[in-house]
Symmetry: C2
C-alpha cells in the first residue's frame, strides 16, 4: 500500500477505546488521535497509553487541560488530518456529528445505536463487506445484531433457514457504569416485539425471516441468546457444526470443558490473556446444539464491549478502498487482534458437565 | 359435604408451607399436620403458627424436641390419620416416600420435581381436573410447566396453536437459600434442548406442539418466559387478550402502569397484601402482547414459590372425589386464597412506560 489510512476515533468510551487500540495494531492504518469531551480517568489513560487526545470543542479542551490531560487540539483539528472517523460517541449524540464530518470532508463510521437511515449502509464484514467499498458513510451494527448476523449467515448461506426465532437476554449495563444502574435481582422484559435486532439483521440479510424478543437481567458481562431456527430441511448436528466452523468469528465453547455459563466464558477470555478480557468472536455452546429434524437450536454469548471492534476495522478498510476483498480484510484484522476459530482444542476426554442447575427447581 | 378431607403435608419447605396454609383456608379440608426432618427456624414457625408438627422418623423427632419444637408424633402416625398426603419433600427424596404412603393406604400428591411416571398423572387443574377424580396418585407439575399449561391452554382450546416456542429464564435459587447458591453476574444456559418443561406440558396437552429452551440468571424472585406461538390463523391482539382473560389464573400486568419488570410484579404482590408476597396467577404483560399475523408473542412471569399451591389444593379435591367439577373446585380455591383475574383495573390514563432499557446499548 502507498499510504496508511488516517483514522480518528471520536468518543473514547466502551467501543471507542477498543477501536483505537485495534487501529494501532493495523499495518495499513494510522490512529491520528482520539477525541472526547470527558476529563476523567478514562481519558487520562488514553493519554498515558500514548494516544493523541483531542477535545470535542474549546470548552472541553479547557477542562481537559485543567484536569492535567495534555491535548493536541480540538475535534476540528483532528478531522482536518484524517481520512475516516470512527464515531463511537454515545447514542443520540453521535448522529449529530454527521454534518461536522461532512463539512470536514472525512468519511464516517457510526455504531449500532444509530439508525440504519443515518448512513444507508449497515455493516457486518462477513455479510456485506463489498457494499462498503469506497463508501463515505456506514454504520457497524450493534453487538447483538452482529452476533445474529454472523451465526445466522452461517446457516442462511447454506439455504437452510426457513425462519429464525431468538430470545436475547441482555446484560443490564456495562462494567464501567455498573455503579449507576440499579438493575438487581430482576428481569426487565422489553415490551416491543420484535425487538430491534431482528429488523436490524434484515438491513444486511433482507431475505432472512427473523423475529427477536429481548429482555435484560442483573449482570454486566455479555449478552446470551437462545435461537430457534426452523430449517428448510432436516439439518444434522454435524452439518450445523461444520457450517458454524466454516464461518469467520464464531468459536465453540463446551460445557463439557467446564464452560457452563456466561462467567466461564469471560474467565476463559481472561485466562487466554485477552486485552480487557475481550471476546471478539461469538461463542456458541457446541454441546447445546440440538435438532428435532424440523429446527436447530443454538445458545450463544456476545461480548457487547468487543464484538463490533473487528467489524469497525474492516469497515474502515472497505470504505477507504485499500482492500477490496472481504476475506483478505477479515483475515488481516483477525491476525492483528488474535481472533481465533478455536478457543480450546476439543478433547477426547471431556469432563462431565458440572451443572446442578436443575436440581433445586424444575 | 359429610366429612372434611384429612390432609397431611410432608415436607414443610418452599411449597409445603404454602400448601399447608392453603389447606387451612379450605372449608372442605382439614390439615391434620405437617411432617419434616429439619429443626430450624422454618419448622419452629410452623409450630408457632399452630400447625401440628410430625417428625419424619424417631431420630428427627428427638432432634426436634431437643430444639424445642413440640412434636405430635412421627410421619407414620400422621399417615394413619389422613386421607391424602401432599408430598412437598425435596426432589429425589420425595419419590422414595411412595411405598410408605402405599403401605399406609393414603393417596399421594407429588410436586413437579418428580417424574411423570411416578404417578402416571400430571396435573394442572384447568387442563385435566377430571382425570384426577378419585385417583390414588398424582403429580402437580412444576411452576414453569403450570404457567405454560395455563397460558397455552388458553390459546390451544381455541384451536389457534400450530406450534409453541418458548425461552424460560429461571431464577437462580429461592430466597430462603440465597446465601448458599453463588450464582451472580452470569447466565447459566441449560445445554439440553428441549428443556424439560416442553415435554412436561405435553403430559397434559399431548397434542400441543411445544419446544422450550431454558437458562437461569442471578435473581431469586420469579421466572420470566418469552413465548412465540405460531398460530393456525392470524389471531388479533384483541382475540388474544380475550382468550387469556377467559382462562383461570392468568392476570395481566402492564408496563404502562409502571409494572416494567419482574421486581415491579413482586412489589405489586407485596402492596396487594399477599401472604409472603405470593402470586398464584401467571402474570402476562398485556402491553407486550404482539402479533405479526403468523405468530403471537407473550412475555410472562411465574412465581415459582406459589403458582402450584392452588393446583395442589384442586388436586386434593379431585383425588378425594369430593368435587367432580373442575370449575367449581377452581372457583372455590381461588376464592379461599384471593386469586384474581385483575390485579389492577385498566386505566384510561396510563402513564408512559418508564423504560430506558435500550438507551445504553442496542
Amino acid at each position: 500500500m502507498d499510504q496508511k489510512v488516517r483514522v480518528a476515533v471520536n468518543g473514547y468510551g466502551v467501543i471507542g477505546k477498543r477501536v483505537a487500540d485495534a487501529v494501532t495494531l493495523q499495518d495499513d492504518m494510522e490512529l491520528v488521535g482520539i477525541a472526547d469531551m470527558a476529563s476523567d480517568y478514562r481519558i487520562r489513560i488514553a493519554a498515558e497509553r500514548g494516544h493523541r487526545v483531542f477535545a470535542s470543542d474549546d470548552a472541553a479542551r479547557t477542562e481537559m487541560e485543567a484536569a492535567g490531560i495534555p491535548t493536541v487540539g480540538t475535534l476540528d483539528d483532528l478531522l482536518g488530518a484524517v481520512d475516516v472517523v470512527a464515531d463511537c460517541a454515545p447514542k443520540k449524540l453521535a448522529a449529530a456529528n454527521k454534518a461536522r464530518y461532512e463539512a470536514a470532508g472525512v468519511k464516517g463510521i457510526w455504531q449500532g445505536g444509530e439508525s440504519h437511515e443515518l448512513t444507508g449502509l449497515s455493516f457486518c464484514a462477513q455479510v456485506n463487506y463489498a457494499d462498503a467499498i469506497n463508501r463515505d458513510w456506514a454504520r457497524v451494527v450493534s453487538c447483538n445484531t452482529t452476533a445474529l448476523s454472523r451465526t445466522m449467515h452461517a446457516l442462511h448461506r447454506q439455504g437452510w433457514v426457513h425462519r429464525v426465532r431468538a430470545v436475547l437476554l441482555r446484560r443490564a449495563t456495562d462494567p464501567w457504569e455498573s455503579h449507576i444502574n440499579g438493575t438487581i435481582n430482576t428481569v426487565v422484559p422489553e415490551m416491543k416485539v420484535p425487538s430491534h435486532q431482528g429488523p436490524d439483521v434484515q438491513t444486511m440479510l433482507p431475505d432472512l425471516d427473523i423475529t427477536t424478543m429481548a429482555g435484560s437481567g442483573p449482570f454486566n458481562l455479555s449478552h446470551v441468546h437462545f435461537a430457534m431456527v426452523e430449517t428448510t430441511r432436516p439439518v444434522s448436528i454435524e452439518e450445523l457444526k461444520a457450517a458454524l466452523a466454516d464461518e469467520p468469528r464464531i468459536a465453540f465453547v463446551r460445557a463439557a470443558d467446564g464452560v457452563v455459563a456466561a462467567n466461564s466464558v469471560v474467565e476463559l477470555m481472561r485466562d487466554m490473556g485477552r486485552p480487557r478480557g475481550d471476546m471478539w468472536e461469538v461463542a456458541v455452546w457446541e454441546d447445546s446444539l440440538s435438532t428435532d429434524g424440523r429446527e436447530v437450536y443454538l445458545t450463544l454469548q456476545v461480548d457487547n464491549e468487543a464484538i463490533v471492534v473487528p467489524e469497525t476495522i474492516d469497515c474502515i478498510r472497505a470504505m477507504s478502498g485499500i482492500e477490496a476483498d472481504a476475506a483478505t480484510s477479515i483475515a488481516k484484522t483477525d491476525k492483528s487482534l488474535g481472533i481465533t476459530k478455536t478457543f480450546l482444542p476439543a478433547t477426547t476426554n471431556p469432563i462431565a458437565q458440572a451443572s446442578d442447575s436443575d436440581v433445586s427447581t424444575p
